[in-house]
């Protein structure tokens, strides 16, 4: 009897930890929660501040760097062709490294392995610019992460992290972004936490920022210890979020409030 009771309680707890996932048909980009002004800012390239980073990225793409004396474009030629659809597939599983790599990580691998240049710091203007330029080549394309069996265990870890309560406020990502995305936190829409626009321009930041920056902000928001930039946990969360958003269209560079 006692044993059965225990199982019932465990099942109830597990049920609360694993919140209901959003049905495919109900998935919505953060864009659809914004007011008309922010939407207009994102839609028009001449008013979208993120385009400044994209233009910087285009310049950097052609600039030689490192002791190899090579520019990105020397190997990849025209980004509009070679980088089309690439961001929609990231993070990918890197067979040589045996772990997933996000787009920023891939660009830094090219810096160190192919350009013989030091990796760029997360959130540096250069890394944001190159990432935005590469990702913008996939704008409007559907996200494809989630089909690779090698990536699956890392997506599963990201999912586990997404549903785990943490921090002084003892909340899981899912408590807000799966269970309460139609509600308001201190008057502002919570949204589904879809990763469709990164790197994106956040009015609150007055800057472009990476998905990892956003994740760290949410983790600090629940008063948990934020994972370091580039840490396996953040890449796993990115992999889960991108697979959760499979089929949704990339918007880089998006605008958010």
């Amino acid at each position: 009897m006692k044993f059965v009771g225990c199982i019932a309680i465990l099942a109830a707890l597990a049920g609360t930890a694993l919140a209901t996932e959003i049905p495919q048909a109900d998935r919505r980009s953060g864009y659809s929660f914004m007011g008309p002004d922010s939407r207009a800012m994102q839609d028009d390239d001449t008013s979208n501040p993120g385009m400044l980073w994209v233009l910087d990225g285009e310049t950097l793409w052609k600039r030689k760097a490192g002791t190899a004396g090579k520019a990105c474009g020397d190997c990849h030629s025209d980004a509009r062709v070679s980088m089309k659809g690439v961001a929609a597939r990231y993070p990918t599983f890197d067979k040589a490294l045996g772990k997933p790599v996000d787009l920023e990580g891939r660009i830094n691998l090219c810096r160190s392995n192919h350009q013989q240049a030091p990796p760029l710091a997360y959130e540096s203007r250069e890394l944001l610019a190159l990432t935005a330029y590469v990702a913008q080549q996939s704008r409007g394309m559907p996200i494809e992460v989630g089909n690779d069996p090698d990536l699956a265990p890392f997506v599963a870890k990201g999912h586990e992290l997404f549903t785990r309560r943490q921090g002084q406020l003892n909340l899981a990502c899912a408590n807000c972004h799966d269970d309460n995305w139609d509600r308001k936190l201190a008057g502002a829409p919570i949204t589904q936490g879809q990763p469709t626009g990164y790197p994106l321009y956040r009015l609150e930041w007055q800057s472009l920022g990476s998905l990892q920056r956003r994740l760290r902000a949410c983790i600090t928001g629940i008063r948990a210890q934020a994972y370091e930039y580039g840490s396996p946990e953040l890449v796993e969360l990115e992999a889960y979020l991108m697979s959760r958003a499979r089929g949704m269209k990339l918007e880089t560079p998006a605008v958010r409030p």
Binding site: G167, Q168, D179, A186
Partner: protein
């Protein structure tokens, strides 16, 4: 008993400028049924300070709740309106709700404001501290009981 309370109060006073809950240990309290009948500090809270605390961003209440706070433009809708809490719940029930809301429903999203165990990966700045001090909880309880309608 009197000494730890005094020390805790002093600690609260000393850290008051640093925001909620100074480096204070938890005072012992007794749960009777679904309530904590006795004040955590042994004294009655101050309802005026309680109202000010509830609307303060760092207390986190109105991230989720709304309430009779017409001057607050930004209130949440993740949780019931706090109006009438004092008629729906006794003082002791309100105190237990703030101390440990998971007592009422283990699946609640409302944080436990006077608990430091059973939490994972709490950030350095907040580790081993309750979200609110015992004194702050008493002030908030004193205010909530006045919300009769």
């Amino acid at each position: 008993m009197a000494r730890p309370v005094l020390i805790a109060l002093l600690a609260t006073a000393a850290f008051a400028a640093c925001g909620p809950a100074g480096a204070e240990g938890l005072l012992p309290y007794t749960v009777a049924g679904d309530a904590v009948p006795d004040s955590l500090t042994g004294t009655k809270g101050d309802a005026t300070r309680g109202r000010a605390l509830i609307v303060e961003r760092s207390s986190t209440c109105i991230l989720c709740h709304s309430g009779p706070f017409p001057e607050q433009a930004f209130q949440g809708d993740l949780a019931p309106n706090l109006s009438g809490s004092g008629s729906r719940w006794s003082e002791g029930q309100l105190r237990l709700r703030l101390v440990d809301a998971s007592h009422f429903d283990p699946a609640t999203i409302m944080p436990s404001y006077y608990r430091i165990d059973g939490l994972t990966r709490v950030g350095n700045a907040w580790r081993d501290k309750p979200i609110l001090s015992a004194e702050q909880i008493e002030d908030i309880v004193a205010y909530l009981v006045t919300l009769r309608d």
